[in-house]
Symmetry: C2
Subunit: 178 residues, 2 copies
């Protein structure tokens, strides 16, 4: 095999795209499935698949907005902070949750499992690009909130690790935010 | 943008290639630099770059073989186990160390830093493919050995996280090991 300069350049050209520069359309169910499948083709010691991508519905996002707002108020935020927190659940065309699930019941160290999850997150962002979309990985204090964790996680050992805002990049040079 | 089916399929077709199915050539200095640069284009909260790829020299590998052998003997291995441990440092055309360095001096949680490192490791393996090469991420008990860690790590906070065996995949269907 020889070097594919375009492919190497394409890999290196990944950039996060802020929610305000993401528009419709978003991946349909079939595209989402292909993106998630490609994301899983990462080094995964023991084939434990210690991660999951959950595309949230409008109803999920509305419920999250309530939780974000409540978390902001609990931590002493004023009305403005509460509304700002709320808006974070609603920004961008689509929102996905990235969930990590490690286990201590296998010989594979948890550290390696987290590396695998990170590889899948990175590859998800590349698969999103390959499928004609774009996005950004976001975190923030709401990830640590118990009610938010409980809203997303389905079973013991799962950890909501990041949000992914997903959409179609605007067709302008300014849409690239680094 | 529209879906690039080939690109999505290419991302999803990554497979680890065992050392015995890797041959020469290995990346030269210039190709190595391009691969490592592409590997860094991952979501990286705070741009902390919490990872490093170190291509080992023949001398490094010979020294590692001694350390692997010593570690095996210390943990009670017999002559056969010692020789087997030794051989692990010498298998495959090239060996690289993947080093993670997280910090607690930033607001970015360490968990996120490890996810970023994992994303870089995954993208490194893809960049390797794009550059015409292949490889496999390996771990094993020698990673935990203090002398082995000390041989690879350069500063406090660094952690030798994995080995990467690198080479050119054999041109046969049997070279794909999953």
């Amino acid at each position: 095999m020889s070097e594919n300069t375009d492919l190497l350049a394409w890999l290196g050209a990944r950039r996060s795209i802020k929610p305000k520069h993401l528009t419709l359309p978003i991946p349909n169910a079939s595209a989402w499935e292909r993106i998630v499948a490609a994301a899983a083709a990462v080094p995964d010691h023991g084939q434990l698949h210690p991660f999951r991508f959950a595309l949230l519905t409008h109803e999920d996002r509305a419920a999250l907005a309530d939780l974000f707002e409540a978390a902001a108020r609990r931590s002493g935020g004023d009305e403005q902070a509460a509304q700002k927190a709320r808006s974070k659940a609603l920004k961008g065309p689509a929102l996905a949750a990235f969930v990590v699930k490690t286990t201590t019941e296998q010989s594979v160290p948890e550290f390696e499992q987290v590396l695998t999850a990170g590889a899948a997150l990175g590859q998800f962002m590349q698969a999103l690009r390959a499928a004609g979309f774009g996005g950004i990985v976001l975190s923030g204090s709401a990830l640590e909130d118990c009610d938010v964790q409980a809203a997303i996680c389905r079973e013991p050992g799962e950890r909501l690790a990041a949000w992914i805002v997903v959409g179609t990049p605007e067709q302008s040079p300014q849409s690239i935010d680094g």
